[in-house]
């Protein structure tokens, strides 16, 4: 008899094996998503956590703060990376789906304004000038450097910035345009800050905004622009110091992670969040952000232990000009 088609036993065995493993519940997973800014910290923490306990699988996505919150408030993820506080609509969504959350500030960040290293004329930018460049009315009308400041060349600039799902975008629009989520639309937008770095580093006429850590990591190929926040202090360069003490105004902001109360019931999630708070200062610094003062982390841990829900910012979303001191004060008061 000629050879039978013997695919079936092999396929059957494969199927049985896969289905047996399909249980999935036996595997300990911690799933997170959200901001690409905070991702750098969460990725580092996840990597280090694996060395401590390799039986737990941590996955981290980069859908942007907005995209991440949608998943978080639908119960799809255990933790949320956020580069701005939770918004009213998200508070509502979480409530609607019965998701209770604990808000944990973990680091401080600045948004860097960056141009190509060979750009010689942009030596600073005021808040007003940035607003002119980025407000909705600028779409299709403001296209040239000369329209921003007299004496600048009459060439067209190319803008790169965070996409609409990004917390960085929300904060930027609030701080620069004055209205959250309101900006021109004709620029290269991406939730992935890496794409923005790439874009402006290769474009002599480029101007971009993204998280400070991404600038810090790619300093050699970028030129940072000092920003004059209009409070009389003149243009300020973002550094760990100026961001931390709030003088890099208005582009300094706290970074958060949110954990769902229900997920905290699982031992692996609890272990992960405790490890996170332990390591946040060190890893934030390594990655390029500003760690909070030492007192902040035990305060955060207390929030976890007590399952303290509610936002330090009353669920109103981004607030401009919060310094580390302010943040600490809020935490202690709460």
């Amino acid at each position: 008899m000629a050879t039978r088609v013997t695919l079936s036993p092999a396929a059957f065995l494969l199927g049985v094996h896969l289905l047996a493993a399909c249980g999935g519940g036996s595997q300990k997973t911690v799933a997170g998503d959200g901001s690409s800014t905070v991702f750098l910290i969460s990725e580092a923490v996840a990597e280090e956590f694996r060395k401590v306990d390799s039986s737990v699988r941590v996955t981290v996505g980069v859908s942007g703060t907005g995209g991440g919150f949608k998943k978080f408030c639908s119960g799809e993820t255990d933790f949320q990376d956020a580069s701005r506080p939770i918004k009213p609509s998200e508070v509502e969504l979480c409530e609607k789906n019965g998701v209770k959350w604990v808000e944990l500030p973990i680091a401080f960040d600045g948004i860097a304004v960056v141009v190509h290293p060979e750009n010689t004329f942009v030596d600073s930018l005021t808040r007003e000038e940035l607003k002119t460049m980025w407000q909705p009315e600028a779409q299709q009308t403001i296209k040239r450097w000369s329209q921003i400041r007299a004496g600048w060349p009459d060439t067209e600039f190319k803008l790169y910035g965070a996409g609409v799902d990004s917390g960085t975008y929300d904060y930027w629009t609030e701080a620069i345009v004055g209205k959250e989520h309101s900006s021109r639309g004709d620029y290269t937008s991406s939730e992935d800050d890496n794409a923005l770095v790439r874009g402006v580093a290769a474009d002599k006429n480029g101007l971009a905004f993204f998280g400070f850590a991404y600038y810090d990591e790619n300093k050699e190929r970028l030129k940072v622009v000092p920003v004059d926040g209009g409070r009389g202090a003149g243009p300020v360069i973002p550094t760990l110091e100026t961001i931390g003490n709030g003088s890099y105004f208005p582009l300094s902001r706290p970074l958060f992670i949110y954990f769902s109360v229900k997920s905290l019931e699982r031992p692996e999630v609890k272990a992960f969040v405790e490890f996170y708070l332990q390591k946040a200062a060190e890893l934030a610094r390594e990655v390029g952000y500003i760690p909070l003062p030492a007192e902040a982390y035990p305060l955060a841990k207390a929030r976890v232990d007590n399952r303290k829900t509610g936002s330090l910012f009353q669920g109103k979303g981004s607030q401009i000009g919060v310094s580390i001191k302010d943040l600490l004060a809020k935490e202690q008061a709460n």
Partner: protein, 322 residues
């Protein structure tokens, strides 16, 4: 229990005519319940393809209808700005269309000369041994994963262009288009070669007899005769370029830009869909429906091109020439 109704066996003929192995035959073979069940099972498997096609149509049209209930045709086809996700959204499809068009045109302007001359060489000059090596070798170009091509475009082609055109943006339509052209060259070459090869010897010999040189014969007689096949190959190449995603997502930029300047960054229809998927917009929102509306445009465009190409090629197969 076996049903005893015998069944007439006839084997199928393929779309390109009856194969001599499968001339219709009438045989009476026993047909049990088991037989009928197996036939139904395999038939069901074949229906999966129909389901897939139906699924594509339903999903694309379904979400697009939801989209067009909120965005009018006038906005979609009339507006020249594409900023659907922003606070003051614009839904004009033209920037995405121009992005796709620009990169596709650049690609075909590379692939057509390369592919056509390669085809001429393979069918008119090459020895069978050379043809046996060269044809599969060209197919290699089509087999490279597109993400790898994207890497090539970003890492090598873009810096090379930047040294020729200073001040050009890192992301631009030219780099992506050139690399796409490389990728679709085999399509042009292969199908054109088939078309040229199919031109009857009698035509060539007739031209020769009338005193034509080989070159004249090729350009005045053979190529015009193969025109429908060559056109079919170009259209298929265009279709492939229109549907390409990774090369443009990596190298052409993510800025919707209504322009035909190859030095500018653009965003194609395919790149937009990827961009939105990376950011994860939730189902039911207008942003989500947008990618299906764009997807529908993409699907219809490539479908039309594929059908035209197919029609041209079957004209060729039936022995006709342009």
């Amino acid at each position: 229990m076996t049903a005893t109704t015998p069944d007439t066996l006839s084997t199928s003929a393929g779309p390109d005519g009856d194969s001599p192995l499968h001339a219709p035959v009438d045989l009476k073979i026993p047909r049990s319940l088991k037989e009928r069940l197996i036939e139904r099972l395999f038939g069901a498997f074949a229906m999966v393809s129909i389901l897939t096609a139906a699924g594509i149509v339903i999903v694309l049209f379904g979400e697009s209808i939801l989209f067009f209930q909120q965005v009018s045709f006038g906005q979609f086809f009339g507006d020249t700005q594409w900023t659907p996700l922003f606070a003051e959204p614009h839904f004009g499809i033209w920037p995405l269309l121009s992005g796709t068009l620009l990169t596709t045109l650049i690609a075909i302007s590379v692939a057509l000369p390369l592919g056509l001359f390669a085809a001429i060489y393979l069918s008119e000059f090459a020895s069978p041994r050379v043809r046996k090596i060269a044809k599969p070798a060209l197919e290699l170009l089509a087999g490279i994963p597109t993400v790898v091509y994207g890497y090539f475009a970003l890492s090598f082609v873009t810096p090379a262009i930047q040294s020729f055109i200073p001040g050009i943006s890192g992301a631009n339509a030219l780099a992506a288009g050139l690399v796409m052209g490389l990728m679709i060259t085999p399509i042009i070459a292969s199908l054109s070669e088939d078309a040229i090869y199919a031109v009857p010897r009698s035509l060539r010999e007739g031209a020769s007899a009338l005193g034509g040189t080989k070159v004249r014969t090729i350009f005045r007689v053979v190529l015009p005769a193969a025109a429908s096949g060559i056109t079919a190959s170009v259209i298929l190449g265009l279709s492939r370029a229109i549907g390409e995603t990774m090369i443009v997502a990596i190298a052409a930029g993510m800025e919707p830009n209504l322009t035909l300047d190859p030095r500018e960054p653009v965003q194609t229809m395919t790149a937009f869909i990827v961009q939105v998927s990376l950011g994860d917009t939730p189902a039911g929102s207008l942003g989500f429906q947008t990618i299906f509306a764009v997807g529908l445009m993409l699907f219809l465009t490539t479908l039309v091109f594929n059908v035209i190409s197919f029609r041209l090629r079957s004209r060729l197969n039936r022995g006709g020439h342009a």
